[in-house]
Every structure is written in structure tokens, then in C-alpha cells.
């Protein structure tokens, strides 16, 4: 009779491995004659009636398992242990034969809870599924183990056998915790960054408003207010970005918030002037969105300042619509219209900003008379983009 590891204390040699592989073939063919230890053919009969061969196979399967496995009998002593088990938990394979589990190693496996669970399993009263224990060994860090155990059903009247799988999850748990910690840290850093950006923008806005308060010239004050509004436009995008995870911005809520902010600080009488925002469902990357937002800011400020003198009533409309890669942004008003001598007028900072950003977006600016009022549109088409790139 061949048995392992009960009467063999060393790792299997090559001949033994080949022998066991032969056994597995026997198992698979079931009715082929099993090969004896000496290699002589035996009479054909079902493998299951061959307790020796069946046991050998079971022992071989356990011994070669790459996952740490134990085969226990009903009184919780070892029938076999996988090489991987011995290696993982520093057990000398020579010492395991018929040893009670609680005496394994230096007694570290004598865990009362585990013992009682395994006893229950042996008597068929419980299954151990994913039970976690800490393996405490002298002079070594504790290891967190996940134990699964099952009573084997392999025929009637046979001895009780328990198959116990022991998984060391210590490193996996550490890696998991590290990942969680990193994710938390990332969230904290992101919050910190968001806080700093908002605070920095608030500082700039505060300084500009302080300057506006101090200057004597009405023109200078107006410029400082515009500068303040530009900072708030960038801040408005920051809010939208903070709400999105991937750096893409939904234009409708962004432009709506932006125009609300401009209206709140620049329109004195909301019965006199109103802002109408009509935006499709477009989503744009952050860098494009901030340019579009600044263009809207300039065009709306410009219309508010020049299109409605003497408390003239009116509406400013902001439209944005996209078809595939092409899009069109327009800001229209029903005010007094452009002055006749546009060419003579010296372009202000607002005009320069709109021109620079439009070029950056590969767009084309068109200004036309709307009778009454003015329409400024920025169109981007792929063909125009190619022409600009060339």
C-alpha cells in the first residue's frame, strides 16, 4: 500500500510524481486497469472499489494542491497536508503524520473556536465557510487566515474525512487597506485643492473689489468691476468641475449659473433687463468650457454696458447648440445695435479676449445687425478647424 505522507516524510521524487499522474489517469478512465506500485497490470474493475487507489489519489490531490489544504480525520488529526500548506506556515512535513491539528507546529493551530467548528463539521452539524482566524506564532507577526472546511462525502460506511482549505489573506488585506487609505487620501487632497482654488479666487475677487472701492475714476472702477466679474466666471466653472468626476462640464448648468452670477452683479433692475439662456445637452472638456464661459462673460458684459443706454428695456439671449463636433455659440440682444463707425472704435479688452479665445477654439466670429440689436456668434466647424490648423 502506498500512502502519503503517513509513511513518507520527504517530498515526492520524480518517480512518485509520475506514479501519481498515472493514478489520475486511472481515475479518469475509471475502468482501465490501475497500475500497481511495481507497474504490473491489474484486473479491470471500477476504481471506486479500490480503496488503496482512491486514497492514494485523494492524498496526491491534497499534497499537490497549490492552495494550502489539509485532510483531517474525524478526531481532527492530519491525514495529509499539501506542500503549499507546510511551506506557507513553516511546518516540517516530516512531523505531520497523524498529528492532531492542535499540536501542529508549536501549538498555534490550537484555536478553540476553530476546533469546535471543525468538530461540528465532522459530525455534520456545520460547515465552515470563510471563517477568519488570526494565526499567532512566536516571534512572528500575526497572520489573518480564512478557513473553509467541509466533510467529504465519498461513499457509505467510510471514515470521516474533512477537507480544510486555509487561505492567508494578510497581505491581501494590507493591500486592500492601503488602497482604501490611498483613495481616502486622494479625496482629502482633492477637497483641499478645491478649497485652495476657491479661496485663491476669493482673494483675487476681494482685492479687485477693494481696489474698485478705493479708486476715484469711474472708468477705472468699471474696469475693476469687469475684472471681478471675469474672476467670478472662472469660479463658476470651478463649481461645475468640482461637481463632475472626470473633468467634463455640462454646459447648460454651467452657463445658467454663469449668467445668473453676471446678472446678479451687473443688472440693477431685473424688470428692465433680463438674461435668457438656451443651451443644449452638450458636455465639453474643462479647458474648452472655460474659454466658452469667458467668451459668454465678455459678450454679455458688453451687451449689458452698451446695448441698453438710458434704462432701455431689453433681453440678452445666450444660445449654444452642437451637431456632432460642430457647435455654435451666440449672444444676441435687442438693444440699440452696433455704432455705425465700428472700424474707428478702438477695440477694448473684452474684444481682445473674445478674439483670442475664439482663435484658440478654432472658431469664427460673426457680428451682424439684428434690427433691433446685435447678434454675435462664434461658430466652430471641423472644416474651419482644418483650415486654421493648416
Amino acid at each position: 500500500m502506498v500512502s502519503y505522507p503517513n509513511d513518507r516524510s520527504t517530498a515526492p521524487n520524480e518517480a512518485q510524481i509520475i506514479f501519481r499522474q498515472n493514478l489520475i489517469r486511472v481515475w479518469l478512465s475509471l475502468r482501465e486497469p490501475p497500475v500497481s506500485q511495481k507497474g504490473a497490470a491489474m484486473a479491470p474493475q471500477p476504481i471506486l472499489s479500490h480503496p488503496d487507489v482512491a486514497l492514494n489519489l485523494a492524498l496526491a490531490v491534497v499534497a499537490h494542491s497549490t492552495a494550502p489544504l489539509l485532510l483531517l480525520n474525524g478526531d481532527l488529526s492530519l491525514v495529509a497536508a499539501s506542500t503549499s500548506f507546510c511551506r506557507a506556515f513553516g511546518i516540517d512535513p516530516a512531523t505531520i503524520a497523524n498529528k492532531p491539528l492542535r499540536e501542529l507546529g508549536t501549538g498555534e493551530w490550537d484555536v478553540p473556536q476553530l476546533n469546535s467548528l471543525l468538530e461540528m463539521t465532522a459530525t455534520g452539524h456545520a460547515d465552515v465557510a470563510g471563517y477568519e482566524i488570526d494565526l499567532c506564532r512566536k516571534d512572528q507577526a500575526n497572520r489573518r487566515l480564512v478557513v473553509n472546511a467541509q466533510k467529504l462525502a465519498y461513499g457509505t460506511g467510510e471514515e470521516v474525512r474533512l477537507l480544510v482549505a486555509v487561505l492567508d489573506v494578510t497581505d491581501a488585506r494590507i493591500a486592500e487597506k492601503l488602497k482604501d487609505d490611498l483613495l481616502k487620501e486622494k479625496a482629502v487632497l482633492l477637497q483641499e485643492l478645491q478649497h485652495r482654488v476657491a479661496n485663491s479666487l476669493q482673494i483675487i475677487a476681494s482685492v479687485l473689489m477693494q481696489s474698485a472701492r478705493k479708486v476715484q475714476s469711474e472708468e477705472a472702477r468699471s474696469h475693476l468691476h469687469d475684472a471681478h466679474q471675469r474672476v467670478m466666471s472662472v469660479a463658476s466653472l470651478q463649481h461645475q468641475l468640482a461637481a463632475s468626476a472626470v473633468g467634463d462640464v455640462e454646459l447648460r448648468p454651467y452657463f445658467t449659473a454663469l449668467c445668473k452670477s453676471i446678472g446678479a452683479s451687473m443688472i440693477r433692475d431685473h424688470n428692465q433687463l433680463s438674461l435668457d439662456v438656451n443651451i443644449d445637452n452638450s458636455i465639453m472638456p474643462a479647458d474648452v468650457s472655460v474659454s466658452l464661459g469667458l467668451i459668454v462673460t465678455e459678450l454679455v458684459i458688453n451687451a449689458l454696458k452698451h446695448a441698453f443706454p438710458d434704462s432701455r428695456h431689453g433681453v440678452i439671449k445666450v444660445n449654444y447648440h452642437a451637431h456632432g463636433p460642430n457647435w455654435m455659440l451666440s449672444v444676441s440682444d435687442n438693444g440699440i445695435g452696433m455704432p455705425k463707425a465700428v472700424a474707428d472704435a478702438k477695440p477694448g479688452l473684452g474684444t481682445s479676449i473674445v478674439q483670442a479665445l475664439t482663435a484658440q477654439l478654432h472658431g469664427i466670429i460673426k457680428v451682424r445687425d439684428a434690427n433691433p440689436g446685435t447678434v454675435v456668434s462664434i461658430a466652430h466647424t471641423q472644416i474651419a478647424a482644418v483650415a486654421n490648423d493648416a
Binding site: 478645491q194 479666487l201 476669493q202 473689489m209 474672476v231 452670477s261
Partner: protein, 139 residues
């Protein structure tokens, strides 16, 4: 008419300066504190403060949100305006009847918030007899 006393709590000096100037221009009396500890010291030393405008993220033993809760507990009649560059705190995190402003805030938003908090009574405490009745320790 002189308006209510507002305590501005903000660790960033330039923001605090500009916010104080903005409120003074609107004829409020403004006190300034650079963190929650300084704010509590001021709150303990005088009883005419009608509103506290605080940032959330501040160094010191309390952040602005805890400061707001402490004020709501000890000085229930004081109006609270809380600002942060991050998302508004959830309702459970936020003390009752406090208002939130997203940073960066525009001057108009600050003034509007105080207009709404004070309602028809933007004056100092001594002009509000019903508050004195409700909270007898006030002057």
C-alpha cells in the same frame, strides 16, 4: 440708522478685509476674527452681535461648521452665514436656520444673504424688544 453688529470669521486676511469693508459700506458694524477661538472670545466679551459670517475650513481648535453649531447652542438668536469653497454641508451637518454661501462669493450675494437673514430688522439689538424678551440676558 446704524445697522447690526456682524462678526466676520475668516483666516485669510485679504478676504476678511474685503468682506468687512463690504459690510461696513452697507452700514453694518463689523468685528473681525481670524479663527474660531478668537471668534468665541469676542462672542463671550460682548452681547450685541446679531450675526456671524464664518468660513468653514479654518485652522484652530474648531472649524467654521463646529463654530456655527457652538454659536447655535449658546447664542440661539445669532444669525449664521457659513461660506466654503467646497459643497454645501448636508442638512444634518448644518446648524438650523444657518445660510450657506459658496466661495468665491460676490459682494451682492453676501449683502443679499444678510438682507434675508435680518428681514425687516437690520438694526442693532436694542431696537428689537421681542428678542430681549425672549433672551433676557441680552442688554
Amino acid at each position: 440708522m446704524k445697522k447690526a453688529v456682524i462678526l466676520v470669521v475668516e483666516d485669510e486676511a485679504l478676504i476678511r478685509l474685503a468682506t468687512a469693508a463690504l459690510l461696513e459700506d452697507a452700514h453694518y458694524t463689523v468685528l473681525e476674527a481670524c479663527d474660531a477661538d478668537a471668534a468665541l472670545k469676542i462672542l463671550n466679551s460682548r452681547s450685541d452681535i446679531r450675526a456671524v459670517f464664518t468660513d468653514i475650513m479654518m485652522p484652530g481648535s474648531l472649524d467654521g461648521l463646529r463654530l456655527a453649531h457652538a454659536i447655535r447652542d449658546r447664542w440661539p438668536p445669532i444669525h449664521l452665514l457659513v461660506a466654503s469653497g467646497l459643497d454645501a454641508p448636508t442638512e444634518e451637518e448644518f446648524p438650523g436656520k444657518a445660510r450657506f454661501l459658496r466661495k468665491p462669493y460676490a459682494p451682492k450675494h453676501v449683502l443679499k444673504a444678510f438682507d434675508e437673514l435680518f428681514g425687516s430688522n437690520p438694526g442693532p439689538y436694542r431696537y428689537i424688544p421681542n428678542v430681549i424678551q425672549n433672551y433676557g440676558k441680552l442688554p
